[in-house]
């Protein structure tokens, strides 16, 4: 079902050619959950955006299974099986939750039976939004909107799921809901996940493998347990780098 | 007031110093054989009255061609320096300035909209360069008595006064003057309100509108609802056509008298259609007009060049050019200041009779030629032109 993601020397630069990512390598095994951690401005979100095709990639390669995807536009990458849940609000506020979910299956919208099944399934994932499927998404709380976005990101049965700080700003109850779902996705071994997370302990607890980024480049990586073991040293290293002026 | 005079004369001083400097700088070159440059400052693009601007340009080009073909003026070739005023006051004034300072024009011709002309007059005065008006109707143009400003053509109060007997004779009791909000439209409205006091049983209502509008439906609804006997439409051709078309659409039953002979322009019938039937227009042009030899030369050449007859305002423009020519010949110089001195005294054969300026200081008849009769003509069927139109009245 899902594929491995291989990233080689990825570079991303926004306007005026200031590079945020300066050559990042990464390997996310098929059906594994890879957490990406690092200090502010390390380029974690930019990495996911580069992979999703919503940030301008200026160099490097992205392989999803056997397919090169770095030259595809965002819509084509969705078609290739990439689903990105950005940190920024991405919900369609004037539409109902159901309409939002429906758009999550945009690239296979002609397959009506499949789409209805997926909408029903994903609408059922989170208790916090289940009673509100007919409400306008913009009227829900920020946390509920985030859950809508995650559910919407799963409707299309992605092969690669990119989650950018899915629990930022959520209440503890919702954080538990999100991690329950992430754990379930991992258990089902049906999708490759790249997870960017500020909450390092939560991330390490759920991840198979962990990459540490700093200043737009690879810092270190290893199996989650191993990284957990030397986390104090890694974080101390961040502290010394923070305030180095690298903008996020 | 005193302040004002001080300002203007200081500017004039500055300008004449500049002019003197330029003259000195230019005197080294072969003066006698130098071309004469005439400035043509006209509305050549929207929002200006570009249709009239086009007619002006055609007339000017033709005049220059004929004069140069006949050896120029005193052996000197004439060239035009053309500037677009876009029908805008500020653009017109700066175009004047450029025609004078960059092109070194001996005189400025082709000016059109009264509002623009009034601003251009200040520039002409500042630099002491003759400004020739022909179809800018604001009284103020000559009433201000600027030594540099001349007009061979009609003015509002004269036309308004000539309209009053027509309104009386036709038995109109309630007249609406539909005026565009420019010096031209409002100037006429004011002059007509003044002149109509001579006919106490005629009531007049002035309805003004924005000159650049593209929709007069609302205005015409209001006019129609007041059920006048006649509507005098005082605006340029596009709004004239629009007011007729949309006036009839919203049920206006009154006689429509256009401010001038716009219905003779080629797109009248194609834009107005049936609604144009019954429209009365005043004009200075009529087959009964005595066209001089000069006039015949102009009309024939114009028809040959452009395939249709010139409108009457183009006759006056032709006379404007000939006035400048006469002044250059009389003074033996194309220097603007010399022309300003010489022009008031020139006489020459115009297109429809001898031309000379009335020079009654303190009145509108200063540097003003006014020997024209006014004809009122009616269009009785679709497609009627000057020849088919019915002459309903003559005012002399």
């Amino acid at each position: 079902m899902s594929e491995a993601i291989t990233i080689k020397g990825l570079r991303v630069a926004y306007e005026s050619d200031i590079e945020i990512l300066r050559g990042v390598d990464m390997l996310g095994g098929a059906n594994t959950l890879t957490a990406i951690i690092g200090p502010n401005g390390a380029g974690k979100s930019t990495l996911l955006k580069g992979v999703a095709g919503v940030a301008p990639v200026t160099g490097g390669e992205i392989h999803l299974g056997g397919q090169r995807i770095e030259a595809l536009n965002a819509a084509q990458r969705v078609g290739a099986g990439v689903s990105f849940v950005p940190q920024e609000a991405s919900v369609f506020g004037q539409m109902t939750v159901l309409e939002n979910l429906r758009l999550g299956g945009w690239h296979r919208r002609k397959d009506k039976a499949w789409l209805e099944r997926r909408i029903a399934f994903c609408g059922d994932l989170f208790h916090s939004i289940k009673p509100h499927l007919e409400r306008r998404a913009g009227d829900l709380s920020g946390g509920q909107q985030k859950l809508v976005e995650i559910a919407r990101g799963l409707v299309g049965e992605p092969r690669l799921l990119l989650l950018d700080e899915p629990t930022a700003g959520l209440s503890p109850v919702m954080v538990r809901e999100v991690y329950r779902e992430i754990a379930r996705l991992k258990e089902s071994r049906s999708v490759t996940v790249l997870l960017v997370e500020q909450n390092v302990r939560e991330a390490l607890a759920v991840a198979d493998h962990v990459y540490v980024l700093a200043m737009g480049q690879n810092d270190t990586d290893g199996p989650a347990a191993e990284i957990a073991g030397r986390l104090d040293g890694i974080v101390r290293n961040w502290m010394s780098r923070e305030g180095s002026g690298m903008a996020s | 007031m005193i302040n004002n005079i001080g300002k203007i004369s200081r500017r004039a001083l500055l300008a004449s110093m500049t002019a003197a400097g330029l003259l000195l700088a230019g005197s080294g070159s072969a003066y006698a054989a130098e071309d004469i440059t005439l400035g043509l400052v006209s509305p050549l693009s929207e929002p200006g009255d570009a249709r009239s601007g086009d007619a002006i340009k055609k007339t000017a080009d033709l005049w220059v061609k004929l004069i140069n073909g006949a050896g120029g003026i005193g052996g000197r070739q004439v060239k035009l320096a053309v500037f677009d005023d876009q029908g805008k006051v500020e653009v017109g004034a700066s175009a004047m300035e450029r025609a004078i300072t960059e092109a070194n024009a001996s005189a400025i011709l082709g000016i059109w909209s009264s509002s623009v002309a009034l601003a251009q007059m200040e520039v002409a005065k500042g630099y002491n360069v003759p400004l020739m008006a022909f179809y800018s109707w604001s009284d103020d143009i000559t009433a201000k008595n600027y030594p540099q400003v001349f007009r061979i053509g009609p003015y509002n109060s004269q036309i308004a006064a000539q309209m009053v007997p027509f309104v009386k004779d036709r038995g109109y009791k309630k007249v609406v003057v539909l005026a565009e909000d420019t010096a031209y439209g409002l100037g006429f409205a004011k002059a007509f309100e003044e002149a109509v006091k001579a006919a106490p049983d005629v009531t007049v209502e002035v309805v003004q509108f924005q000159a650049q509008t593209q929709d007069l439906t609302a205005v015409m609804s209001k006019v129609a609802a007041s059920k006048p006997d006649a509507v005098i439409v005082q605006t340029v051709f596009s709004a004239t056509n629009l007011s007729i078309k949309q006036g009839r659409e919203v049920g206006l039953k009154a006689d429509i008298i256009t401010g001038w002979d716009w219905p003779l322009l080629p797109d009248f019938w194609s834009t107005v259609g049936e609604a144009g039937v019954g429209v009365v227009y005043p004009t200075f042009s009529d087959p009964s007009l005595n066209i001089t030899a000069t006039g015949k030369t102009f009309v024939d050449a114009y028809k040959a060049a452009y395939g249709h007859e010139p409108a009457i305002f183009q006759y006056y423009l032709w006379d404007n050019f000939n006035a400048v020519k006469a002044a250059i010949e009389k003074s033996g110089s194309s220097e603007p200041a010399k022309l300003v001195e010489t022009l008031p005294g020139v006489t020459f054969e115009g297109t429809i009779g001898p031309v000379f300026f009335r020079n009654e200081a303190g009145t509108v008849n200063f540097h003003q030629w006014d020997k024209f009769a006014m004809f009122f003509k009616k269009l009785n069927k679709v497609g009627d032109g000057e020849k088919e139109a019915e002459l309903v009245q003559v005012a002399k």
């Binding site: 609000a89 539409m95 945009w106 919208r109 | 205005v219």
Partner: protein, 295 residues
């Protein structure tokens, strides 16, 4: 007095329907691409010339002129998107919005000049589908063409409503309008739907101009006025809101006519600006716009 009131109200509504049709494409394109298209009026102007060409020069029936206007408007809008705007909004430069304004403004000037050169400054008239001045009960006076234009305008806006709220194209447009990032992550191809929006925008502008032409005239600078009216409408209605555009168009039509008739005939165009300024002061997002759009 009442006759004038009823007549004015009706004229205002009829006029307003056309304002809405003119503006709806501008609003649609802004919503989707955040592009303020200064050449929108020229799409309309070229549409009306296309209609004149087909009807007057080729002698085809009047209704073909409406189709020609829509097709011409759509074609020029599509070309504008591909050739002028896409290179800007796909680039990585800063201040794309400002560049699109400058580019479309220059394009508008260019199109006016090109039309003037090609067609001359002559004013032209386009025959309408119902070229008759009606005197309804000798109480309401208006041209049959005005009724045709209004009915067509409302039908077209209804069609647009249908597209926007009932079809996948409309779903994509709404998604792009409400959240461009969200639209990108669910896989909506912004290029494709921007093209479709421009096609619709140009078609509606061209059609509006061809419906207006029998009531007014066709000439190269006519788009400038159309653009000003369209801007006022979208600002009053709220940029990106189709419902708002319809309402604001009707409101502008009625306010212009009513104020012209009952306040002063000398400021017809100024009433629209006054209304717009009032909206900007008291409800800057427009009557139907939303504040705090999430980015």
């Amino acid at each position: 007095m009442t006759q004038l009131f009823v007549q004015s109200l009706l004229l205002g509504l009829l006029q307003g329907g056309l304002y809405a049709l003119l503006a709806v494409g501008l609003s649609l394109v802004f919503g989707i691409l955040r592009v303020v298209n200064f050449a929108h009026g020229e799409f309309a102007m070229l549409g009306s010339f296309a209609a004149v060409f087909v009807v007057d020069m080729l002698g085809l029936p009047v209704w073909t002129g409406l189709i020609a206007a829509a097709v011409a408007g759509a074609a020029i809008a599509y070309a504008t998107n591909i050739l002028v705007l896409r290179p800007i909004y796909l680039s990585r430069m800063r201040q794309k919005g400002e560049y699109t304004i400058i580019a479309t403004f220059l394009l508008s000037q260019f199109l006016i000049a090109a039309a003037t050169l090609s067609f001359g400054t002559t004013y032209r008239k386009l025959p309408g589908l119902w070229d008759q001045n009606l005197a309804i009960f000798d109480y309401i006076y208006l041209s049959g063409n005005r009724i045709v234009a209004f009915v067509a305008a409302i039908a077209m806006i209804a069609l647009l409503f249908f597209i926007v709220y009932r079809t996948d194209i409309g779903r994509a447009w709404r998604a792009l309008t409400q959240n461009p990032l969200g639209a990108a992550v669910v896989g909506i191809d912004v290029n494709r739907y921007a093209n479709l929006a421009f096609l619709a925008s140009g078609a509606f502008a061209g059609l509006a101009a061809a419906l207006l032409a029998p009531l007014m005239f066709v000439f190269p600078a006519s788009g400038v006025i159309a653009l000003v009216k369209a801007f006022i409408v979208v600002i009053i209605g709220g940029l990106g809101s189709i419902r708002g555009t319809l309402f604001a168009g009707l409101l502008l039509g009625v306010v212009e006519v009513m104020c012209t008739v009952y306040i002063d005939t000398g400021y017809t165009d100024a009433y629209g600006f006054a209304l717009m300024i009032a909206v900007l002061l008291f409800r800057p997002q427009g009557l139907f716009g939303r504040t705090g759009r999430a980015v």
